[in-house]
Amino acid sequence: MRTYMTGTAEGAARVAVPARSAAPAAVVVAGLRKSYGAVQAVRGVSFTVRHGEIFALLGPNGAGKTTTLEIMEGFRTADAGRVEVLGYDPGDRARGRALRERIGLVLQDIAVEPYLTVRETIARNAGYYPAPRDVDEVIGLVGLAGQERKKVRNLSGGQKRRLDLALGLIGRPELLFLDEPTTGFDPNARHEAWDVICGLRGAGVTIMLTTHYMDEAQALADRVAVMAGGQIVAEGTPSDIGGRDTARSRIRFALPDGYTTADLPVDGVLGEGQVSVETAEPTQALHQLTGWALQRGMVLGRLTVDRPSLEDIYLRLTGDGTRIEGSIR
């Protein structure tokens, strides 16, 4: 089921997508606040999602992601701040129908009528939109071909999630909200879902994504914002967020027998049986290290050079001080 081409290695050139409307941005959120009783779930969040881009909201459970998303989706009302989705106020139910014809939603929990078949469920929702996608096309797109006549209650968790995605896509949305879309998918299914999402971007769909998976944000997002404690603590592209692009490189290797870190030509820290060297000049440091080892006829075991991953940055940004509850999957 590779309907669309993959191709989102980090930093790969992305096709510019023409904006569909004259509006400057698909989504504008400014100074958003929301409290539940004494708990301030969202404390002054602002960001903009441009037409045709994939914007990912990252953060631990309880960071305020879902509340922010649900206000954008019109399920909750903000205490303060401004939200504009495709030029509409999502809280305005009176004009909401026109907005909902142009957006698609994939919510966090799976919820579909158990007794309808896959095809019936999608066909029913297709009838709600003025210009829906073809039902069979969507079934193929999400990888449910061959399951059309299966009752929803007999689907596996992953298949139900695909059905959910199908319901998000059937109305041919300009803007798609994906709240943790691949949670519970096996690795193959996730990569297939990523292909679908990349394909949608190729077709000009703007996507607002939340996820716990850093590799997902890395693979899909044009821009990411990290939320913690109800606020955005960092925003940028996956490759430069949190100073990732300018961060120091890390060289790691096993300390040769009979030597201490004091013997090394560069400063290193010993931990978990490995020496870790942080440097802004990895070429020079590596040259010194390997020269030192070769002179002594030694091997630097398990030698690696890397930069902090998106996950490292994420963990630093959402570290203990700001983590409210729950775990990071």
């Binding site: 919820a111 009528e113 009838g127």
Partner: protein
């Protein structure tokens, strides 16, 4: 403004029919809903048929034969089941597992969703009443002859009990409690409303007459007892309860499983 303003009414009607079709499909595929709305009243009327089949008119049954009395009251039970009980339970369940929240996220207008449910319930009720009347005729109960009065009572009753079902669903927080709450309200109401035994107490009659089930029984009894005319008094009490239910539903109905 938007496209919605210029939307042809024909398209909205088509959408309503579309919605009714899928409600029907979900309903007939669900063995539990089919059981409670059909099997239960059918079993009761068959048992009553076996018990009272031979008995003639009596003053205990207000001058009717026992079965002539029970066919309309059990038909009323079936309408209560498919409109009030089933709707309250299904809506509480759909809310709890997030289906309603998703419905609200689609462009389907809320009124179309509810009108679809109402039309669906009226259709199921009509099938139910026809089934009970048919079984009754096997036991010698003549079919009703005053169809307009019967249709009016059926549609108004179904609509009112749908409104009350939605109202109860609006007041219940968790879906596991729904069947219990629904039955707790309905069971005593059936007993004081002459459903299973005729009421010969004017005090009880007055109390039950002001509650929704008794007027519905009365409105259905007329056409089945071959009385001409429409029981406007009963229908207006029923309509008042329907309006009250609709008011509660409009003010209190929630789509989201989690309160804000």
């Amino acid at each position: 403004m938007s496209v919605a303003t210029y939307r042809a009414p024909r398209r909205d009607l088509a959408l309503l029919w579309h919605q009714v079709r899928y409600e029907q499909l979900s309903f007939w595929r669900n063995p539990q809903s089919a059981f409670f709305t059909f099997v239960f009243p059918v079993v009761i009327i068959v048992v009553f048929g076996a018990l009272f089949g031979g008995s003639g008119r009596s003053s205990y049954f207000n001058g009717l034969s026992a079965l002539q009395y029970y066919v309309p009251t059990i038909a009323a039970v079936s309408v209560l089941g498919s409109c009030y009980s089933q709707l309250a339970i299904v809506l509480a369940m759909r809310r709890q597992n997030g289906i309603l929240k998703r419905v609200r996220a689609t462009p389907l207008p809320e009124w179309t969703y509810f009108l679809g449910l109402l039309a669906h319930c009226v259709m199921v009720s009509a099938v139910d009443v026809a089934l009970i009347a048919g079984i009754g005729s096997l036991f010698g109960v003549p079919l009703p002859t005053h169809w307009p009065a019967l249709a009016l009572a059926l549609v108004l009753g179904a609509a009112s009990f749908c409104a009350l079902g939605v109202a109860v669903a609006s007041l219940i927080r968790n879906s596991e409690a729904a069947p219990a709450v629904v039955q707790l309200v309905l069971f005593p109401l059936l007993f004081i409303s002459g459903t299973y035994m005729p009421i010969h107490s004017s005090a009880l009659d007055r109390i039950a007459g002001a509650l929704p089930v008794r007027p519905f029984n009365q409105a259905l009894l007329g056409p089945f007892a071959q009385h001409a005319g429409v029981d406007w008094k009963s229908l207006s009490v029923l309509a008042a309860w329907g309006a009250a239910g609709a008011l509660v539903a409009i003010r209190r109905f929630r789509w989201d499983p989690r309160p804000e």
